[in-house]
Symmetry: C2
Subunit: 236 residues, 2 copies
DNA sequence: CCGATGTTTTGATACGGAGCGAAACGTTCT
DNA sequence: AGAACGTTTCGCTCCGTATCAAAACATCGG
């Protein structure tokens, strides 16, 4: 939560060192879609032996960039939280903004809607956040984003049934800067839950590969009913 | 401008390697307030010899993280652009969010108003951005933020004279996520120009040290006239 | 209980790069 | 022109760590 000046040189260098090895960078990138993967698969993805991969994973774990879930003889690694995913996205900026002034890289589908870690991002994510704010369904405060009761009611009416967690407005939402759109979308537990609900309800489906999300015709209709308007950029 | 998946392992590792050395990290941090500093001063700040510092600065320059301005026998280094500053701020997140849930680090003055690279950030920066959007003086689109003619007129009336660049609405504004407030403030050339104008007009002055900005009584009055309301968090 | 599979630990090697002193280069001042 | 200063280049040493093979460990299947 601090700004860069409160980070000392050693803390910054420590994070940098974790990213500095191509093998570790490859592991982090292959986990940046929010999936969990076992050590062997990450070793193959990074192009190193199992022993080497294990050492790298240990460092990333101790450095706080990864989380671990043990299941039998498999050990599943995933990004520690969405702050790590946001950091990875932020690091893409200085490398590419000078090279081109195009508003975004990747295919049109990825620009339009995708997962940022595990919540909705891209033009659709930004438009959804805007619409919720504009209609007073979402409140932005210093502490974060909060879904108001009116907003939860509207979402439930629209068909977004959140099973276990009926109290969507209890979840903490966090503004997450969309690096392709340069605007805020909804992240944090709230963003994850709403995105999961949209997937469950068939408003969105995951592309066969990559991080793109494809909205269904029904999903677009429902979203339009909530005031979500995709700009002209999304229509071409 | 691309997202993390379009960044390959080698590009990410290269950026990481540049940050991985405490001496280089110290140089970047001491430049993160937007100032330009000669090589010798950066060597002292990093605690290394002139020869070592020169090698580090060469790497940072070639890596695209720094820019160089030669003046006589002095060579002034600065951050290449505000994308680099934003990246440094983003890297502070994963290291501290788990450690504490406090809304922000630093002193109250820094939380209230400070420079983010060279534009206004903190509670005042966020509130100013909100007010400009709410009153229709600022337009947010996928391409970025744009000051509308009505907004420019109001600012000029309030006493913000921008000398060279009278066409404030021609400048490109960029949403910049405030990591202490988790909300958007105005960055990019537009943000830099408006902040410089506020400093010129005496609405703000720089703290004697650090990145804090101190609003004057007159400045607060003028800002209030524009609809800027500091939340309860800023008043304690 | 034993072999197969997934993962980590250990030991050994090799490479990159961070550091400094000395020297070279360029600029400013007298 | 010569001296002083800021900066970079060169040559060298030394430490950290990435890598793999082999062995140890843990879990699952029969």
């Amino acid at each position: 939560m601090r700004d860069a000046t409160s980070l000392n040189r050693y803390q910054l260098a420590e994070v940098g060192a974790l990213l500095a090895e191509p093998a570790r960078a490859a592991m982090l990138l292959s986990l940046s879609d929010g999936t969990s993967r076992p050590a062997g698969e990450l070793a193959r993805a990074a192009g190193v032996g199992a022993a080497t991969a294990s050492a790298h994973l240990k460092r990333l774990l101790e450095g706080g960039l990864l989380a671990l879930h043990v299941q039998g003889r498999h050990r599943y690694y995933r990004l520690a939280d969405d702050d790590v995913a946001a950091m990875l996205e932020a690091m893409a900026m200085p490398r590419t903004s000078g090279a081109s002034l195009r508003p975004a890289g990747g295919g049109p589908a990825v620009r339009r809607a995708r997962t940022c870690y595990r919540h909705l991002a891209g033009q659709l994510g930004v438009a959804f956040c805007d619409a919720m704010l504009a209609r007073g369904y979402l409140h932005a405060a210093s502490e974060g984003l909060q879904l108001l009761p009116a907003g939860e009611e509207v979402l439930v009416e629209a068909g977004l049934a959140v099973e276990g967690v009926h109290q969507l407005s209890r979840l903490h939402g966090r503004g997450c800067l969309d690096w392709t759109e340069r605007r805020l979308h909804i992240g944090g537990p709230l963003g994850v839950a709403m995105t999961a609900a949209m997937l469950d309800a068939g408003w969105l489906r995951r592309a066969s590969q990559g991080r793109a999300l494809v909205p269904s015709a029904d999903g677009l209709r429902r979203l339009a009913g909530l005031g979500v308007r995709l700009g002209e950029a999304a229509l071409r």
